[in-house]
């Protein structure tokens, strides 16, 4: 049976690359990249994960069917993330006439806590319209 046997040097090289990327991600986090810090951290993590999947998990040497299944996993993860984020991130971009931008809107990213949906005060829950 014996699948592909990678030389030890491959594993040690990949380990070294993963360590280097770990140092890189820490250095990047301590560098002020503005709004890019989050995407950069994700990009490095994706690169590290790719190395693990291809070499440690032997996907580089696997059958096409296995590669397809692995690809499908990340394809569906991509759908989950992008479709959900296109909804949440775009809320508040447009306001229909007479509408509001309330539900889940990012009114500001830097303001104090007063932004966003004010929590319902316990005493002022839905007003009872019927007078006694």
């Amino acid at each position: 049976m014996a699948g592909h046997i990678s030389p030890k040097s491959t594993y040690i090289t990949i380990f070294g690359a993963l360590m280097a990327c770990t140092i890189l991600t820490v250095l990047a986090a301590f560098t002020n990249l503005g709004d890019l810090n989050f995407p950069v951290a994700i990009a490095i993590a994706v690169f590290k994960a790719t190395l693990v999947v291809l070499f440690f998990m032997h996907v580089k040497y696997s059958s096409k069917l296995t590669k397809l299944i692995v690809g499908v996993a990340f394809f569906f993860l991509g759908i989950l993330l992008t479709l959900t984020l296109t909804d949440y991130l775009s809320r508040g971009w447009f306001t229909a006439a007479g509408g509001s931008t309330s539900a889940g809107a990012i009114t500001t990213l830097t303001g104090p806590l007063t932004t966003g949906n004010p929590p319902l005060e316990p005493g002022r829950a839905p007003q009872n319209t019927s007078p006694k």
Partner: protein, 231 residues
Amino acid sequence: MPNGTAAAAHEEHHEHHHPRLQHHFEDLEQQHEAATLGMWLFLVTEVMFFGGLILAYSLYRIWYPQAWALGSEELNIYLGGFNTVVLIGSSLTMALAVRSAQTGAQRATVGWLLFTIVLGLTFLVVKFFEYKEKFELHHVPGPYFQFEGPQSPHVQIFFSLYFALTGVHALHMIIGVGLMSTITYMAYRKRFTPDWYTPVELGGLYWHFVDIVWIFLFPLLYLVDRSHHII
């Protein structure tokens, strides 16, 4: 005696193939392929499971960037970094364990597997002390949660996701150590040959997956705003 003849035929049949080959597979190659594929299908569901949690994390981070920055500052970057090195190191020892099984180096397989278990346990011990500190500082979400400042309720959401993500990850680690112990025992009993080492291979896939999850969790939880761009 139909049973007797069937058993005899069965016995005879066994002589012609590898004892580990199940009858519904053509050969060991096909059996190994099916097992790998099945393991990957399981890992697809795991990707979606952790993906959902990371999606929740991302949405709240976009809504409450300051709270995320404040909460992340409370985590110990040295312990998180140490655990990252430990876990990536355990992936290396795991990969070498699979390689040893492939080449039929039985003693090396046991050795690398034991090394992997020790590194996995090291990770869990460090995680235990991190959790302990969180309990002492009242950073555990719930009625006793305490955090100074107006961001407190949102920081509590950060810590909820911190415990959810690291908690299910640690659970996977505990299950992984259990799996590795079983596989180590099998290796110790010389159950694996270069022809058949499927449990080592599949255990390795699981272990590497758990490592990948941590590769994402470390920057997402420990390194949110270390450059103080937001706070």
